[in-house]
Subunit: 445 residues, 2 copies
Amino acid sequence: MVEIDTNFRELIKNKEWKELKDFANELDAVQLARLIEDVSEGDEVILFRLINRKLSKEVFQLLSFSKQEQIIEGLVQNGRKLSNLINDLEPDDRTAFFEELPGKITQRLIQLLSPEERKIAVQLLGYPENSIGRLMTPEYVAVKPTDTITSTFEHIRTYGKDSETLNVIYIVDTEWKLIDDIKIKEILLASPNQKIEELMDFHFIALNASDDQEVAVKTFRDYDRVALPVINAEGVLIGIVTVDDIMDVEEEESTEDFQKFGSLHSAITDPLRARVFNLYKNRIFWLLALVFMNVFSGSAISSFEEVIQSMVSLVFFLPLLIDSGGNAGAQSATLMIRSLAVGDVKLSDWHKLIGKELIVSVLLGVTMAMGAALIASFRAPEIILVVSVSMILIVLTGSLIGLLLPFIFTKLKIDPATASAPLITSIADICGVLIYFSIASLWLL
Amino acid sequence: MVEIDTNFRELIKNKEWKELKDFANELDAVQLARLIEDVSEGDEVILFRLINRKLSKEVFQLLSFSKQEQIIEGLVQNGRKLSNLINDLEPDDRTAFFEELPGKITQRLIQLLSPEERKIAVQLLGYPENSIGRLMTPEYVAVKPTDTITSTFEHIRTYGKDSETLNVIYIVDTEWKLIDDIKIKEILLASPNQKIEELMDFHFIALNASDDQEVAVKTFRDYDRVALPVINAEGVLIGIVTVDDIMDVEEEESTEDFQKFGSLHSAITDPLRARVFNLYKNRIFWLLALVFMNVFSGSAISSFEEVIQSMVSLVFFLPLLIDSGGNAGAQSATLMIRSLAVGDVKLSDWHKLIGKELIVSVLLGVTMAMGAALIASFRAPEIILVVSVSMILIVLTGSLIGLLLPFIFTKLKIDPATASAPLITSIADICGVLIYFSIASLWLL
């Protein structure tokens, strides 16, 4: 054991996390428990943190009660120290280091921490950014099925003061696994001598701590709740999420989608206070990318130099035609992006929408072609014809691009809102130039 | 009195609502009360509905208890009949007809109705579309300050079953005026013998039934509540609004803004089920409007025919330049529209943003001009110069248009999201054409 210990201290000193982890996971639960009982205070937390979840649960149960307390204490107190430590880790080492803790430890840890420390802790516990774990608070009331209504009220009176919401009471088993939720209304309406288990229907909705916050928004929307319990991979209740936090997430997501569609690189929330450089940085990415995309429309035009030279008046209708394609495309994209975000449309629905889009865009194209013909009415008849036919084809193409791009991006795991109005305009431009001048060359040369 | 009665029946028969109203408001409270006591059943409701609020409150108090009940009954039962009747009314007559009822009648009326009837009733009660009145439900629990905690619990057990939420208990006076709200948590934590008034702080947030639903969204966001009470002009508690309904409103508003920015005329929520004609109708308005706006960019180009004829290669950079102005403008507009919607920026803030926007857009313009110069690098030096200088000026103009248009629309009481990406693109196009070819004519001819 002395050898193991020396080896272990050596690795800790050199911050060889990966090696430490491999080393720790070669030992069995009994060996690890003995090692943890032996090492000097402070190091047990680091060692414990290196063990994979399944094993660490076993190890924890083997430890003496005082050592168990020490580990939890250590996790709480070393929160800050550990957070400095993780800055030295590579991202993949970090995930390896911060595997999810056994449920009951997570739950106790979170309940012991102050709100500030908790922010660091959920990072430490390995819940990724934008995960539900980052939103949760431990301020809930949980009781056992065998409790009576009267003892539940007493429990609420004693522990309910810090609870963020008392609208729902959670029911857990001895392992702190969530087994039901009961509205405070039902408890208020029950008779005092009833037991909690008489009210239970074992039917509840819970969020997973590691799921994305978008899942939480959808669940709140579908089930009309004011708070939802959060469980970890083992089903242990580790916190709740309240609807006010969800409203903030929803607002942020809408803002992000909206701004992405306006081709901002990442969301800016307060333009009054935003710094010039940040504004510049957020805007220049797409603006410059689109400048270089325009090389294609430019070179498309240059390949039609002959037809332009012979009939300069064709250029007069260029902005009209290419804009119309972009505008129709922006409309389709708006519809799809928002429908995908809200959940009205799923990725697999794209082919169901194509047929309708074709009909609608031909109708739009024909109407707009008539408008364009009116504008071109004092020109030669062949120009009127070229402009009208081009309009129909360009609107059709633009609409289809606008419809499909959000689906393609979703498929590629890119936010569909990246199919911004400016991006679609630029793509529609290239198509528009090619369609317009091709038809013109065909009929006018 | 017989004469009045005949006159009144004549007017009712001819649906002369305006005259009826004028006629009714010429009488005093005592005369009206006597008239209402005398008229045959059914007509008393119509007559009562014609009296202005202040007077109707007096009249109601003068009526016999049985007649009071009849009016409330009549309002409930004639809901459907009345809703057919209002379809015949002109909008301004309708507002004249449906002035807000005295608070206590509204409150009792809403509590007596079934959820279906309530939808019609809130229309009848004169709460405009998108007002908070249209969202409220009467399923709350209210107690008096003199009630004890024990009697409150009894009250909850008796009346709480239908209550949508029991998270907050409302305190009203004998006139049913809202005087406080208390979280169920505080009631649960209080000792059974305490009186409600001992818990009261007379500090509460309430919504006005006639306010816009946007106000409700902002209030919920600011105060992190799960339900808020709704009062009428007299301060009488007439219902509550719950956060799940507010989340729906928020989602709808975001969708509307988003789709307007994509130049859809009005919001489409489910494109999978939307009908072709509706899609067409919602899209064609702006598309066609923008086609005709492009007359200006077309005629701007045609006035530069000479310079284009002498140097066709200028046309190659046309989409690049006009798009860049539109793109920069779309970004600024996105930022402003969302900030205005969320409340980060107010109408009066526009001048604070101009200075920053100028700096940012010059920086953007210079960067993009360098990109454009790179693309144009194999052209004549004077073309590179024209393209670069135009780029800076066009990006600057586009950004300012995008920044200011949402403010101008807000000032004109038009939804700022009407400053859609396509609209800004079209306006930026005209400016772009003028700037580009003016500079070209100046330096190249």
